[in-house]
Symmetry: C2
Amino acid sequence: VVKVVVKRIIKEGNVEEVIKLYGQLVEATRKEEGCIKYELFQDEKKPEVLAMIEEWESKEHLEKHLNSEHIKTIGPMIAQHTQNSEFNIYNKLI
Amino acid sequence: VVKVVVKRIIKEGNVEEVIKLYGQLVEATRKEEGCIKYELFQDEKKPEVLAMIEEWESKEHLEKHLNSEHIKTIGPMIAQHTQNSEFNIYNKLI
């Protein structure tokens, strides 16, 4: 199992638009093979901080997702509204 | 449900020690009331990047945890080995 956390700081005034775009992305991604979890979170105090927390059956499933049509079209639209982002792929230790 | 992500960059040479300390913390924390998940992850390419990903039944349970004896004793020991950290409390959007 592979865990992914994508943390973004969204540009001022663009949060609602990004959440809408994520709505489309979530719908398409959850249908993908190997997708265990794909959930969007918002910081309780800083609404401009969003985190997508993902769980994939394998690295191969994740890579297929990163090359999917919906990531290639919606990904750059989200990136355009993003001020700063961190992408980490994690393995579980404990 | 409240999601917490604590991301840490550990000082060089201290990762093994921090993982041991987290071992103790995980054991004690998973026994706490309201703790749904409390899992430690390591970046697949940067071993000095650790993430504790947590799930709590409520904000009150999380606050009780943050004031627990094990956090008060082990927390500062982990912090001492930490170069940089981010703590976010998230609410689920989608």
